[in-house]
């Protein structure tokens, strides 16, 4: 039993605790500090860290290729604002970096040496990639909107669109002459051919189920990689393939098959445009002249979660992103063109896309 005089004591203690709790009740939230960066005159690699869907933890890293030095979260550190939700891709055009942030519906243009924001371009539904047709015009593909946005580069405003009715999504874009090829990835098998002079779709090519990435080789051939869907997919499940397509008559010239349960992604090409690279659990390559796949991966799977791939247009060095468990900061492994690992780079969450800044 407590004595009555102790009641007051207890009350006093409780009051003290409550008052002191209120006193520390202040949350650490508000404006973020900004830092100045100066990466003029450096060969660099921007690493686009996708982050987790609906977390808003996408980020941008900058790797100084010569000094082997990385700066993470450069966008928020330089600008004091976050990059957004699901950063998808980045392209440099005329000295400006265009960072496409998918689920924020925005494209930021940044100074590629100081990382400061120049423009914020909005009006998209779910932008994925940007492709510069010429110095006046760019196309922006979209995951949900059944159109490709036309962007006026001078005004940084959407100036029009190309309808892609009947397709759920448009993804990457590559160019051969006046034709822009774009792959319809989500539950689709088409490559659309756009006449960039008239901004209209002039043809479409039927590839395999879910074409996910494309490159153009030294012979001006279009290479398309498909993932083949999945078991139980009402749209179908088939052997993934690598298609080689003529960019003049849009005919399929070669089809190289994988195994049914393979899932090849991230098709890239080297600096001489004669060797293709891709992820299929491990990292593989194939000559543009080959007719079948080689037997051994160039960079084997080691429990790694290869999530992004880039090949330097300078010297064919290979950069591979490892997302690890998808919820921690990933790593980038840098290899020479002869597959010797020469650096391991700390990146952000889910590193997936790269953009070279070369002098």
């Amino acid at each position: 039993m407590i004595k009555t005089e102790n009641v007051k004591k207890i009350l006093n203690y409780i009051s003290i605790i409550i008052i002191s709790l209120i006193a520390v009740s202040c949350m650490d939230y508000g404006p973020k500090s900004e830092s100045d960066f100066n990466f003029y005159d450096s060969n660099g690699l921007f690493i686009v860290n996708e982050g987790n869907f609906m977390y808003g933890n996408a980020s941008l890293s900058y790797y100084d290729i010569d000094k082997k030095n990385v700066e993470n979260e450069i966008f928020v550190r330089s600008n004091g604002i976050k990059l957004g939700d699901v950063a998808q891709s980045m392209v440099i055009h005329n000295g400006l970096g265009y960072v496409v942030v998918n689920n924020s519906g925005v494209i930021f243009t940044i100074d590629i040496n100081t990382f400061k924001v120049i423009d914020i371009i909005t009006g998209f539904t779910s932008p994925r990639y940007i492709h510069f047709v010429d110095d006046n015009k760019a196309y922006v593909s979209d995951l949900y909107s059944s159109k490709i946005y036309i962007l006026n580069i001078l005004t940084k405003k959407i100036s029009g669109s190309i309808p892609v009715k009947g397709h759920n999504s448009t993804e990457q874009m590559v160019q051969s002459g006046k034709y822009i090829f774009t792959n319809c990835w989500s539950y689709d098998k088409k490559i659309l051919v756009i006449d960039s002079e008239n901004d209209i779709i002039v043809d479409s090519i039927t590839a395999g189920i879910q074409p996910n990435s494309m490159v153009i080789d030294k012979n001006n051939k279009l290479w398309v990689l498909t993932d083949g869907g999945y078991q139980g997919n009402p749209y179908g499940h088939e052997i993934p393939s690598l298609f080689c397509i003529n960019t003049s008559d849009f005919k399929i010239e070669k089809k190289i098959d994988f195994e049914l349960n393979d899932s090849p992604t991230n098709l890239c090409i080297n600096n001489t445009l004669d060797t293709l690279y891709f992820i299929n659990k491990s990292i593989w390559k194939i000559s543009a002249d080959a007719t079948n796949l080689s037997g051994v991966p160039i960079i084997p799977y080691k429990g790694t979660t290869y999530y992004g791939l880039a090949v330097s247009p300078n010297n064919s060095e290979i950069y591979v992103a490892d997302a690890i468990d998808y919820v921690q900061n990933g790593k980038i492994y840098r290899y020479t063109a002869q597959y010797a690992c020469i650096d391991t780079i700390d990146a952000g969450v889910c590193p997936s896309n790269f953009c070279f800044k070369l002098k």
Binding site: I10, C26, K32, G51, V76, K82, D227, G232, S263, T265
Partner: protein
């Protein structure tokens, strides 16, 4: 009969079924009479009871708010009237099993419960069963279980209660209850309607509005003041109950609860799309009904229940298709139905033994589809699955009290799902009264528990993995409980330490095919301490004081095998689980006035599995919240009227409790309650 505990109660909002109709509003000591049978039944059980005071403290709250304020459970809430899931002892939302009048509330499809969709006005009592203690409620509660119930009113005659609330952001809450009791027959109708634009303003520190000169050079900036976009909600709940007591100690009950909820899914503060170019919405309609029959004998009690649940849940994302027309780009629809039956028996053998057994069955059917993604040859194709599963859970328990101060209990449960079954789930409990007056008790429990996969885990398209195994949890805890009281004051405290090892924890991760798929990969060790303290003091005739606090230290540690050499998540706290959490509710009353202060704290939550601290993108600092309210009760000849003003977030803190989801600043609510006096009380 033993008077064991003293609980604290008030005549305040929604005490329609309160015994105490004294016009003078004061704290009183409501002696709960606990029989010797009750003591045997609760041997070793780590339980937190939520009384009507906690459940009705703020009429407009959901169970999410009640659990946050009054228990050691961490509720991860995305904001007002948005998804709120529970983490009990550092576990996942699906590891907290929830029942309503004995029927499971966990979605057979998703495994979890959204507590923001349960109005506390509909729950008359709720108990948390921590760790091993959950085995007596259901299997699969690797963190614990919450049993929520409705109860018949006590007073005879007609009682009506109407409460109207109005608050910030165009929020209106209406509550209505009719109760009629005549001898053995009773009808109760409760209605809740809540409607809010929920478009609070906030300063968006994650965006900047730049000003530029004529050469497009940035000359300055400001942080935009934005509104919470797309966060509007409209929820309607109706609960109809009938109770009938026959002469021979048998009781019938029928409870039917209908929910219709229409909620916008608020956009992230990092979204740059204009408000009218996209809209995400979640609509739900659910009907739950439970019929029960209880019969008491001198030495035994029989309980049977039968129930049915039907849920129609849809999520849609509409966007501008490029022509200015909004079209549905995502439309996920699921229909879930459950037929439920339970039979329960308790038998007391002398004063020292109790035996109980029950068996419950749930027949679940899920039809889940996503119908706006694919067009195959210009015809829409539906992706999804349609599955049914029969689940049976059987339970036996023996409890033994060899002396006044010592008790033992042992439970066994086994669960069957489809053509599989979990291993036997054993649990053991011990209880010892350290002091002869029963005011200091020691408790300990241990269990091995299993949770089987949900239907989405097994069959979701794409990604469902039908080869998943049950998750396994091994848990034990021990604690001390004490009560100190005299005529004027009462102090009750409890401290418990726990340790759980969970393996085969199911996680969804992207696979090489690029879509998400679940597997039994995670191993987690969660351990910690839970501390509860409750006090009340009658300072003098007019002044009363009460305070109720809880504190938890929860380490929830990833013990997986590393994914690869670079994996830095091993030995680290799980994402979004705070290591420390605490909440205190303090009430001070003077005559018919009552002032309430609520305080909540969570330590930093990590958003990366490697617990990255050096980040500007993924940090969620410590969370503190302060809410106050003031109530006044008035008694007139024709009615009782109460008014209440509440101020949430009194310090107008700007914050996020989940990344990219800003929360409301200081906001207000005003409530008026009318209870007509029909002069028909006994």
């Amino acid at each position: 009969m033993v008077i064991l505990t003293l609980t604290f109660g008030t005549v305040g909002f929604s005490q329609i079924d309160s015994k105490n109709d004294s016009p003078e509003w004061h704290l009183y000591i409501d002696s709960s009479i606990v029989t010797a049978q009750r003591i045997i039944k609760d041997i070793g059980v780590q339980q937190t009871k939520l009384d009507t005071v906690a459940l009705r403290e703020n009429i407009s709250t959901s169970m999410a708010d009640v659990l946050t304020q009054n228990t050691v459970i961490f509720i991860k809430s995305y904001g007002r009237a948005t998804l709120s899931t529970a983490s009990f002892r550092g576990t996942a939302p699906s590891h907290t099993q929830v029942t309503w009048n004995g029927m499971k509330l966990n979605s057979p499809m998703l495994g979890m419960v959204d507590f923001s969709l349960i109005p506390s006005y509909f729950i008359d009592d709720a108990s948390l069963y921590h760790g091993a203690s959950s085995v007596s409620i259901t299997g699969g509660g690797l963190g614990g279980a919450i049993a929520m119930n409705t109860k018949p009113a006590i007073d005879e005659g007609l009682a009506v209660q109407y409460i109207q609330g109005a608050g910030s952001f165009d929020t209106y809450d209406s509550f209505l209850r009719f109760n009629y009791k005549n001898k053995g027959l009773q009808s109760s109708t409760r209605i809740v309607y809540t409607d809010s634009d929920n478009d609070f303003k906030y300063v968006n520190y994650d965006k900047k509005e730049y000003t530029k000169d004529e050469n497009n050079n940035i000359t300055g900036f400001k942080y935009p003041i934005e509104r919470n976009k797309n966060g509007d909600y409209r929820d309607f709940h109706a609960l109809q109950e009938f109770y009938f007591t026959a002469n021979n100690n048998s009781h019938f009950g029928l409870s039917t609860w209908y929910v219709k909820s229409k909620r916008g899914v608020p956009v992230l503060n990092l979204d740059y799309r204009s408000e009218n170019s996209s809209r995400s919405q979640q609509d739900e309609q659910t009907l739950r009904t439970v019929l029960s029959w209880n019969k008491s004998f001198t030495k035994a009690k029989l309980m049977t229940k039968a129930g049915y649940t039907y849920t129609d849940l849809s999520y849609s994302y509409s966007g501008d298709d490029g022509t200015g027309t909004m079209v549905k780009m995502i439309h996920s629809q699921s229909y879930v139905s459950t037929v439920f039956a339970k039979f329960d028996i308790e038998y007391y053998l002398g004063k020292k033994w109790m035996f109980s057994a029950n068996v419950s069955a749930h027949q679940n059917s899920v039809n889940s589809k996503d119908d706006a993604i694919i067009n195959l040859d210009n015809k829409p194709v539906i992706i999804g699955y349609k599955k049914s599963r029969f689940e049976l859970s059987s339970f036996v328990a023996a409890k033994y009290r060899p002396s006044e101060r010592l008790g033992f209990a042992i439970n066994f449960r086994e669960e069957f799902y489809a053509n599989k079954h979990t291993p036997i789930i054993p649990a053991a409990f011990v209880n010892y009264d350290l002091s002869s007056d029963g005011n200091i008790k020691l408790k300990a429990s241990v269990a091995k528990n299993y949770r089987y996969p949900t239907l989405n885990d097994l069959y979701f398209m794409p990604g469902g993995n039908d080869s998943l195994n049950s998750e396994t949890g091994y848990t034990y805890d021990g604690g001390i409980e004490f009560t100190l009281s005299n005529k004027k004051a009462n102090l009750k405290g409890e401290i418990t330490a726990f340790n759980s090892n969970i393996k085969n924890w199911i996680v969804w991760l992207p696979n090489f095919k690029g879509f998400w798929t679940p597997s039994n990969v995670k191993k987690v060790n969660s351990y910690g301490v839970e501390f509860k303290l409750k006090t009340m003091v009658d300072i003098d005739k007019n002044w009363k004081f009460a305070s109720d606090g809880n504190f938890a230290w929860t380490r929830s540690i990833n013990q997986d095998d590393p994914v690869n050499w670079a994996d830095e998540s091993i030995g680290k706290q799980l994402v979004y689980i705070p290591e420390f959490s605490a909440a205190i509710t303090t009430k001070l009353s003077w005559k018919t006035w009552m002032f309430t202060y609520k305080w909540i704290y969570y330590s930093e939550r990590f958003t990366t599995s490697n617990n990255e601290k050096n980040t500007k993108t993924g940090r969620l600092g410590a969370f503190f919240m302060n809410d106050v309210s003031l109530e006044k009760n008035m008694q007139f000849s024709w009615a009782k009227i109460a008014i209440k003003i509440l101020v949430n977030n009194i310090f107008d803190e700007e914050y996020q409790s989940v990344l990219s989801r800003p929360m409301a600043g200081r906001n207000f609510g005003f409530f008026i309650e009318i209870k007509p006096d029909f002069k028909n009380k006994k």
